[in-house]
Symmetry: C2
Subunit: 313 residues, 2 copies
């Protein structure tokens, strides 16, 4: 038994219908109107809003109901809630379903999937006690699209247009599952690439998680009486500090080993700058700033990311 | 002898015709076409470009030539070159001239003006040895407008439209000089406010200089192999790291006491976040992120700064 091809998909379930899940729902409804989209989440207000917006075609009153007939399930809850969500749904999934998450950290997700679904692969597992949903049908995904504003109210059908989606399949992942995941994200306009989960967490620890940590620290440390005078330098530097606390609590916690290692590189670079300042060594100070400025100027907005939509993490 | 009123100003000299000086020249030429604008700077290419753009009406071949007949002199060189520039021009200034700088740090500028011009006030000064240009005609100014791109090529006639300009007069500054400085910046579209130089340096140390220092440190510390995957979170957080090295060497050096004190507040806030991460204290982590996020969300773009032009420092 394998997953369906995209053209055969009839029903998608969105678990957690916020910015990420709601935008996926809006986009897949637009691209494939023949697909019904249901959603389940803790907030009835959110689900009703998603229905009103036309993002979903019906609301499920329980997690089992949501996934039971779904050909595709997208888990778009805060990273810290993924384990419990996956555990709760596994016995109710169709064996042919594709399940994806949309979290910003991936090594933990590979491990979670192994823990929750892997036992189905063990020869000793009792068929009665476990679902037949196979680990090979789980594809970890990370859409590099978002905003600092969370929630269904900010969902947009073109959130993923020209955005990057990273898939981090493991050796256990089946090729048809990767193909369907790729086709789905491409159907909503994204460009899909694959990398292993550890590489993903190193890269996004560096370009996303660490900047968030530093922006949070800056906002907490700055004299509040001064910020009314902030210009666009301040505005841009601190924009990501306004991100959702629960989402970022989970991302930073989940990728903490990587982040704590990388913050040391930052601290060493800061120490060099402070030392040059303290010693009045303007030659060294200029050298360090020139290095930073050249590195930044050499950076180019990735082509599919260069339009006006905001992209975070 | 006092400075002129704006309607009587016939000649303005721009010393250092980059983004800041060139934009002022373009704007004043547009607002007051009867005023001739000359410029002096180290780069003939820059001066010829300013002439070609219509920012200035003529090029001066020396600093004395530039300031000799000027009713208003704007010094727009990197902060570290201001002392020498002011020293070199003082003997050649008209006693009725207004002189302004446009630097991003101000306590040092008040001290520099006192050092270079203050001796004219001392009873023992020899009239032959010194110019008669009085300290009271020097007005330190900081236009809160700029971009991360420096140079005359990026100058715009509306760079100061609806921007804030901070004047930091000292007790030695004459009221008519403050009035003319205010009228000039208002003529190019800016909104002018006054604060004392130490307050200025504290405020802009917090909302501008410290973010630049942190962005430089981040760019120097980050694994270069990862940044190709940066999205708009990365893009916005690091934009100011691309700023001009000489300009920022001087700003950070000049305001280093304030900046080194403020970086401690950042480091304490970062240590709290790291501690919560290390200990796996997700409650404390969420509390700290919530505090940062709330502080950022409560911030509002200052009304005159809310249009689309980029504003730095």
């Amino acid at each position: 038994m394998t997953v369906l091809a995209l053209h055969a998909v009839r029903r998608v379930a969105i678990i957690g219908c916020g910015l990420i899940g709601g935008s996926f729902a809006l986009a897949i409804r637009k691209a494939r109107p023949e697909i019904t989209v249901t959603a389940y989440g803790r907030s009835q207000t959110t689900l009703q809003e998603a229905l009103r917006m036309g993002a979903i075609t019906d609301v499920s009153s329980s997690l089992p109901d949501a996934v039971r007939d779904a050909d595709v399930v997208l888990i778009s809850v805060p990273v810290g809630a993924t384990h419990e969500t996956l555990s709760s749904m596994r016995a109710h999934l169709k064996p042919t379903a594709l399940v994806m998450d949309a979290g910003s950290t991936k090594a933990d997700m590979v491990a979670t999937a192994q823990t929750v679904l892997g036992e189905n692969m063990a020869s000793g597992a009792s068929p009665e006690a476990t679902s037949h949903f196979p680990l090979s049908h789980f594809v970890p995904a990370h859409p590099i699209a978002g905003k600092e504003k969370a929630g269904i109210a900010h969902a947009e059908g073109d959130l993923y247009a020209n955005r990057l989606v990273i898939l981090t399949p493991s050796s256990a992942t089946a090729a048809p599952a990767i193909s369907l995941a790729t086709a789905l994200w491409e159907a909503v306009g994204a460009r899909v690439i694959q990398m292993d989960a550890d590489t993903h967490d190193h890269v996004f620890g560096a370009v996303s998680h660490l900047p968030h940590l530093l922006a949070f620290a800056y906002m907490n440390g700055v004299d509040p009486s001064t910020i009314a005078m902030g210009g666009t330098g301040f505005q841009d530097f601190t924009r990501i500090a306004g991100s959702d606390p629960v989402v970022w609590r989970d991302i930073l916690s989940t990728n903490r080993t990587e982040i704590l290692a990388q913050v040391q590189g930052f601290e060493q670079a800061l120490a060099q700058l402070k030392s040059a300042l303290t010693e009045g060594d303007t030659v060294q100070l200029q050298t360090l700033i020139t290095q930073a400025s050249a590195q930044r100027k050499a950076w180019r907005v990735p082509a599919p990311l260069s339009d006006s939509n905001a992209i975070d993490d």
